[in-house]
Amino acid sequence: MNAAYEFVVGPLAWIAGAIFVLGSIYRLVSMYALAVKKDYSSLPYMDLKYSLRSIIHWLNPFGTAGWKASPWTAAVTFIFHICLIITPLFLLGHAVLLETFHGIEWPTISDGLADGLTMLVIAGCIFFIIRRATVDKLKYITSGMDWFVIFLVLATFLTGFAAYHQWLNYQFILILHILAGEAMLASIPFTRLSHMIFWVFIRGYMGSEFGKVRHAKDW
């Protein structure tokens, strides 16, 4: 069990991290190159001011037509994403690994808070799963990829939650958690999770067209 643990927190973590970082850079650079080659009727309209205008408005869960039309989904979406990013980034257990392995000091949130945020992420996943399984318009458009990404997130946080509370076979659950987390990280550049790295650009482009050319708001 120790050997397995050491493998997943050691070489495998490096591999997952490298796939995430290098993969993201590759995706961004190649996508930009493709846009230069094929989307030159769009690219020159990109505008920083109007990109930010659009991004900022969409970061307000009460500020856009889309969010207002579905307030529950909006609320869950925001809580889900905020918790999803904060929890793993500032978790004590993760920071201690950094500290022990690499001597890096890293800010942390308390375990109690992290526990609460984790429960919110899990609740968010369950909300999205139920929504996808029961709402007609979602059933109509859902594909395997949509289930894959939501269950990947759910698996990571459920096993993380169970490992923290030392339920079932602790070591086994912990290794599962690390594997799920690494799978999620490595999946970001190459699955639908890539909206994490592309969102600002897609939103920014729409904001630029609406701000600079159309003189209208896009929210």
Binding site: A35, K38, D39, D136, K137, I141, H195, F201, R214
Partner: protein
């Protein structure tokens, strides 16, 4: 590949049927690959990949809202039934499938981009639909009626098969008519160096000639230096843009801009049309390689607003009947003229009632995007697809609806009749003409 949706509501159209009858799967795949590889890039790739299938765009669509939230009408579902299947099968789809794609893309989406206000990612579904249309055009699967207008554009440089000599004839006829009211009125043709090239859409000389009459009165009585060309290039409309025939779009936009440059005008002022504005201001210019329009382009609303601000347009009387204003997508979401439109309306109409939602969030007329131009086979698609607009009109409780766009007029007219809202529809120029000061008029 076959899910409930478009396959359950197939509408017979000669153009679509004749088109798919000629196709084989191999031809389809070859053409699709060519379009996807040659004409699309990062935009389409990112939209297909990062759309989270969250369904928030559904509430943005009048078709979805009007069909009691039938999931197959949601914007994302239209992409689900067309582009995603095309991408998933790498273009290897059946002729019958292409029929459905064409029916969705040409008649169940107005490309009004209202859904843009509902997508958190910022995905441009109108663009995806335009790529589907481009593919259908390349495959020769286009509804008969709109294809006919595209042919007209190609052959005559105008939308309505108006012959070269019929055009100045129609202008002269309107000039004659107007001189009964304003004896010194002229419709100046081919005046080089005039300030304004007034451009109209094909249907105006064909069956909405009163608009040319009224515009001439406005120009004459506010003392404008203006002209109209006597040659092809006068028509600013563009159905080729909507069929996906960008080569013809480029030709007609070039003819239009060339005409403005030949006449050495300072700007093009265009009548109350939405799609033509989109073509000149947003689409055609890009196809020709211009970042923005090479000659300044002004929509009628902007022009009226300027005349009021400069004090050239004076108000003789107000239009007291309560009115509401329909915000056309191409000049509101497409150009941000909502405030100017309201200022012009309020200057003439003291009893102005807003409809809700309005401005950028206004529901589409369901005629634009070429849908009305697909003709009688699809009339019910857009009438049934816009119950939500009729309800919106009824809620205002006013007898007069102002719609400063030709397509919106066509669409709203049918909705007003079908849902018996009993309202009267007007262009802004109708009201301006009725209420403005006309110093040179007799009587």
């Amino acid at each position: 590949m076959s899910i409930p949706g478009i396959r359950d509501r197939k509408i017979e159209d000669v153009g679509l049927q004749a088109g798919v009858d000629r196709l084989t799967e191999d031809q389809i795949q070859k053409t699709i690959k060519k379009v996807l590889k040659g004409e699309t890039g990062a935009k389409l790739k990112l939209y297909a990949e990062t759309c989270m299938r969250c369904g928030l765009c559904a509430e943005g669509c009048h078709y979805y809202m009007s069909h009691d939230k039938d999931p197959s009408y949601a914007p994302v579902s239209k992409v689900r039934q067309t582009m995603w299947e095309i991408l998933r099968h790498n273009g290897k789809v059946s002729p019958e499938f292409i029929y459905g794609c064409a029916q969705i893309a040409y008649t169940e989406c107005n490309m009004c981009k209202r859904c843009a206000h509902y997508c958190p990612l910022g995905i441009d579904i109108g663009y995806i639909i335009s790529v589907v249309r481009r593919i259908c055009h390349k495959l020769g699967v286009v509804p008969l009626y709109i294809q006919d207008t595209a042919h007209s554009h190609s052959a005559t440089m105008n939308q309505m098969w108006v012959k070269d000599d019929e055009w100045p004839d129609a202008l002269q006829w309107q000039e004659d008519e107007a001189r009964d009211e304003i004896p010194n009125l002229r419709i100046p043709l081919e005046v080089e160096g005039a300030d304004i090239f007034y451009s109209v859409i094909g249907p105006e000389p064909k069956f909405r000639t009163q608009l040319i009459y009224q515009a001439a009165v406005l120009m004459n009585e506010t003392g404008q230096s203006w002209t109209m060309p006597a040659t092809p290039g006068w028509d600013n409309s563009d159905m080729a843009m909507y069929t996906g025939d960008y080569e013809v779009m480029g030709r007609i936009k070039r003819a239009h801009f060339d005409t403005a440059m030949r006449l050495k005008v300072k700007r093009i002022v265009m009548g109350e049309c939405g799609h033509a504005f989109r073509s000149i201001y947003d689409m055609g210019n890009r196809w020709l390689g211009w970042k923005m329009h090479p000659v300044r382009v002004m929509h009628a609303i902007e022009f009226y607003h300027e005349l009021l601000e400069k004090g050239q347009l004076k108000i003789a009387k107000t239009f007291d009947t309560p009115v509401t204003l329909h915000d056309p997508c191409n000049i509101i979401r497409g150009r941000g003229l909502m405030d100017q439109a309201r200022e012009v309306v309020k200057a003439f109409c003291p009893n102005f009632v807003e409809m809700t939602p309005n401005r950028e969030h206004n529901y589409c007329c369901c005629a634009g995007g070429g849908v009305i131009n697909c003709g009688p086979p699809f009339k019910n698609v857009r009438v049934e697809g816009n119950k939500v607009k009729a309800e919106q009109l009824i809620r205002t409780g006013v007898p007069v609806v102002i719609a400063p766009c030709h397509n919106c007029h066509g669409g709203l007219e049918d909705i007003i009749h079908a849902y018996k809202t009993g309202q009267e529809l007007k262009f802004l120029i109708d009201i301006i003409y009725e209420c403005m000061e006309k110093p040179d008029a007799v009587e």
